[in-house]
Symmetry: C2
């Protein structure tokens, strides 16, 4: 059994990105819009800013108060869309009740949409013509590829059907020739599906949902669930995944822990999407220059 | 075993639509753009026009020659988008090589997009906030509902991953709480999946692909495959589905034949989408009037 080390792989990738950004003189800027004061967001935003700074990406954090209006966020996004200095824009979720997240995030220009959730990017993913794809999806695929898992023809079972993980992951894996099953809270006899999975990916947030008797010998397990649970032994809150990790480890050929598995990859792929966005922009500029010089 | 009669159900629905259109005074117009002279398209377009006329929908067929350019089709679509008389626009596929289908069809305004393939409509389907959904998908769901099949928690296996049937169908069925597996040409051991399906939907176009030993007793079978095959006995071409129909009939609780199953439902749902588009337009106008009168 190999326990995937997401943090180690993240470090390796960040070194690669740092070198690439320096050697290719990529001038990248990430703008994050953070409305309100959600505690978890505080942590996530901090990690994104830290990783970006580390690899040599300029960052700009727009902190807006709880009373911010939808119009104010929309206006900010519009101005960032038009600003040639800005490579990527992230509107951190969740936002306070007074702000309509979808009508704001939907305004982000697709080429600056680092989270990959806008209409154009989802449509491209749907049509197997991927542009910027959601960071968690990209992270999972990078992990699997890095650890030598071939997706073609594999029986992949995804638990969870959110627009953020389950559904884009299903589309991305179908694009990579896997046979994909999407299970969720209404699935009858979950075990019948998980038991046959070559690769099992859980993204529901029910700690310990997947038990030893529900998986097959040698399966690959990716745990996207992260739930804060009070740990009596330490008297502290701990992050718990959807897997009963200790038990599943015995049967898995490859498995991600929580924390330290998929989580670090999501942050890593924010950086990768920023680099991809910049390279696309440069390609586009080259084309435009060629046209002008003709 | 019940053999689904798509033609009979189509007739019933068309009567309903006809009555609704008359009683609610719905003034609907369908514009079909038909470029070139594809023989199969000739038949499909004819069926759509016939059904529309029958229920009291005005139709306008734009026949364009083989030498039509992308720009010409785009300009036509733009003018139909702006024309308040036009309720729905269909760009019949395929188009001749000189026309870029995607860049034309992508221009159709989402509220007039009767085929349901544009970015906005696919994105809405993806987000479980359905607007106009693809006609074949809608047709299959109508059939299943009409014949009393409850989708929630059912194990649905879809064979085929096209953007026209397999993928939108998967999204629509996930929205309706089914557990969905998408199989395709790269699936290893197809039988392992089909054998456990409560509902098996095949949309690949390989005549006789699904044989008796591949399905379970009492399954519901929906055959979307249609392939023209030369029939030696009659000396004529015949339409063949993906199912070995005679054999599968013995095990199915409910099954669609080819022809006369899903096919007629696709045409029927063109009409239903036109009515839905008109009703949405009226709702929108009412809102606008309220705003103006305030």
């Amino acid at each position: 059994m190999i326990k995937i080390d997401g943090n180690k792989f993240k470090k390796e990738l960040l070194e690669e990105y740092k070198e690439k950004i320096a050697s290719e003189h990529l001038d990248i800027r990430l703008d994050i819009i953070f409305v309100g004061d959600n505690g978890a967001s505080e942590v996530y935003v901090g990690k994104k800013l830290e990783a970006a700074s580390y690899v040599g990406i300029r960052t700009n954090l727009h902190r807006l108060g709880m009373k911010t209006t939808t119009k104010e966020v929309q206006d900010l996004i519009k101005s960032l869309n038009e600003d040639d200095e800005v490579t990527g824009i992230i509107l951190q979720s969740p936002v306070p009740k007074g702000v309509d997240f979808d009508s704001c995030a939907g305004l982000i220009e697709s080429r600056k949409d680092i989270d990959g959730f806008t209409k154009q990017n989802i449509f491209a993913l749907y049509n197997n013509d991927e542009e910027l794809i959601p960071c968690t999806v990209k992270g999972i695929i990078k992990l699997l590829t890095h650890y030598g898992v071939n997706l073609e023809g594999k029986n992949v079972v995804i638990i969870g059907r959110s627009s953020i993980v389950g559904k884009p992951l299903a589309l991305a894996l179908i694009n990579r020739n896997a046979t994909v099953t999407v299970c969720h809270s209404k699935t009858v006899d979950l075990e019948a599906f998980t038991k046959n999975a070559d690769i099992l990916i859980s993204a529901v947030g029910v700690p310990g949902l997947i038990k030893e008797n529900m998986v097959k010998e040698g399966f690959v397990g990716i745990d996207v669930g992260t739930t804060r649970v009070f740990d009596e032994a330490s008297g502290k809150n701990k992050l718990k995944g959807d897997f009963d990790f200790e038990a599943l480890s015995k049967k898995a050929s490859l498995i991600t822990p929580v924390p330290g598995g998929v989580g670090p990859m999501t942050v890593t792929c924010v950086i990768e999407n920023l680099i991809d966005a910049k390279l696309e922009e440069k390609k586009h500029q080259k084309k435009m220059n060629l046209k002008i010089n003709r």
